[in-house]
Structure formats: C-alpha cells, structure tokens
Symmetry: C2
C-alpha cells in the first residue's frame, strides 16, 4: 500500500474545480489526471464508479461545506437581516467573488438522473435555508418561500452574467441585495438600493 499522494480534501478540491469549469461531459480523465496528479487507474481506485461517483462525492462534500458554513447563519439565532448579511459574505467567499461557477448549474447539463436528483436536493436545502430567514423576519410562509427561490435565482443568474460578461459586479449586486430581498415585507421592499 503506497502512500497517498494527496488527502481526500485536496483531491476533492481539485476535481470539483474541473467539473465546475467544464461540466460533466467536458471533464475528461485527461484533465482530471492533470488536475490531481494521479493517473487514471488511481482515480478509479478511489472512485470505482468513475466520474459519476466522483460527482456524487463532490456534491456531498460541497453540501457539507454549504450547510455547515455558508448557510449556517440561517439556522442560528439573531436578527434575520444580520444573518442574511453573514450568508452573503460567505457566498462571496464560496464563489470566489463571482469567478467560480456553480456546480448545480454546470453539472445539470447532460448528467445522469442520479446526479440530477442530488443537485435538486442540494438546491432545495439552499432554498429552505433562505426561506427560514424570511419566516424569522415575519413573512408569511408562501412569501418567504418565493423570496428564497428568487434569491437563489438572482445568485445563479448573477454568476452566469458575470461569467459571460467577465465582470463580477452583477454577481456582487445579487449578494448585496440578499438581506433586503429575503426579509423586506411586501410593499416595502426597495430594490435595487437607492441610486
């Protein structure tokens, strides 16, 4: 049993980097090998199920980071708007201020049904977390839910526009508007912030 060349953490990070940039089909073993420094057979040793298993492991690991760190403030105590601000900050870190794409976007093109289901579960928890902020702010459940979905839309869309235009500002604005977007009562919400 030879020594591991890299920890699971490192492997995960480098693999997800490729899948994030290239998508499922675009991520070839040639690139996965170059990114990890492992040859194909070694990757198959760690992930006998091939790319599908890799993606599954990556999504699980990202789920953990997302729920344990990024979305954590949603499930803690404190003023809803302040917690939303905290999440916006962490989302900015997570997406490299708009320079790293979202796996829920890039992996849901021509992927297996299994991966698709996993992605759906992940996004639903994301929405549920946002929804929690709205409820804590006193919004009716259906309203909080809708706000949550629209906030996730704004972030995902901001990432795409930022990617295509090569300009981080659309993504950054999506984050800046998050606290108000999740908590403001109907009829009092003002977006975008005063010009």
């Amino acid at each position: 049993m030879r020594p591991a060349k890299a920890t699971d953490q490192q492997i995960f990070a480098r693999l997800s980097d490729v899948f994030r940039r290239k998508g499922y089909e675009g991520a070839s073993y040639a690139e996965l090998m170059a990114a990890t420094g492992l040859v194909k057979a070694s990757l198959y040793h760690r992930f006998p199920g091939g790319k599908e298993e890799m993606v599954d492991a990556i999504l699980s690991q990202v789920d953990r980071t997302f729920s344990d760190y990024v979305l954590r403030p949603a499930w803690e105590e404190g003023p809803p708007r302040e917690r939303a601000r905290q999440m916006a900050l962490r989302l900015g870190e997570f997406y490299g201020s708009g320079t790293r794409w979202c796996l829920l976007d890039t992996l849901t093109l021509s992927s297996t049904p299994r991966t698709m289901k996993h992605a759906r579960r992940s996004m639903m928890f994301w929405i549920k977390s946002f929804e929690r902020i709205g409820r804590d702010a006193g919004l009716p459940p259906t309203s909080a839910r809708r706000r949550a979905e629209d906030a996730v839309s704004a972030i995902e869309g901001g990432l795409i526009v930022s990617r295509v235009l090569k300009d981080r500002r659309p993504f950054k604005r999506a984050l800046a508007s998050l606290p108000i977007r999740l908590t403001a009562a109907a009829g009092t919400q003002r977006t975008p912030p005063p010009d």
Copy 2:
C-alpha cells in the same frame, strides 16, 4: 447535387436544440446526426468548420430572432412598461415557458474563445435593449443599465432554478417582474408583487 433533406431553418432549430440541452462538449456528432437525420459527412458539408462553425451559425441565427422579434419592442415606440410586458411575453415563448435552457449559459462552458466572444456580444445587446426601456422610463443611465443587467440575471437564474427543481414557476416569476424591474424609479419599486 442531391435535394436538401431539410431547410437551413430546420437544421438550425434541431442543432441548437441539442447544444441547448447538452452544451458544447456534450453535443456529440452521434446526437447531432440523430437530431437532424443527416450523416456526419453531410453535416461537415454544411459546416466545414465542424461544431465550432455550427455554434457560430446558431448563435448568429438566434441573435437575429432575438433582436428581430423578442427584443424588438425595446426599440419601438410606446409606453415603456407596455413594451417590457410584450418582451416578457416573447421571452416566455422563446424559452418554452422555462423548459428550454439558454445557449448563453450552456455554450459558455469549455467552449472556444471565439464562441465566448460571440456569446458576450449577444448578451450585451440583450442588456442594451433592456437598458433602453429604463431610459425611456426616465431612469438615469447608470441606473437603467444596472436594472437591465439584473433583469437578465433574474431570467438566467430563473431558468437554472427551474431546470434543477423541474418547476417552471421561478422562471415565470422572473418574467412577470420584468416590467416593474426595468422601469420603476428607485425607492418606489415594489417586488415581488403584493402577496
């Protein structure tokens, strides 16, 4: 010279359908052949440059549909909010009410620099059209521009959330909010519509 099996229009529509669903790398000749009913050599006859030329032609054709039909109301006369409503309607048709993904999203993963540039030009014209509505509604230029970018973000994000959740409503809400989003003066905008 044998008879053409299909018009360019039909070919374009079927090819773009594949690229839309699968992305650039995911769109293999096997699928492109199945979708068009043409064998590989015939596709190379029409597009000597291969997939890259196909994508370029598709983007050009979509640009035309977008500027001549979908975004046309932006450059006509009339009440800005009414024109925005008209565009929202056509965007709904164009994206199959949220069931067809956007080429600007799916083609900008691991595509060539040429394709990337083309996509950027397309999105910029889209934004410029939205911006025009805001200006006509009396918004300051920088404000109108920002609204336009955020509106495109909302639509792109709505498509992603709708795709992952398999629920068209997030996309449909992005369209429903378009008129107000593009035209409402700062401090008076109220989104989402009253609960």
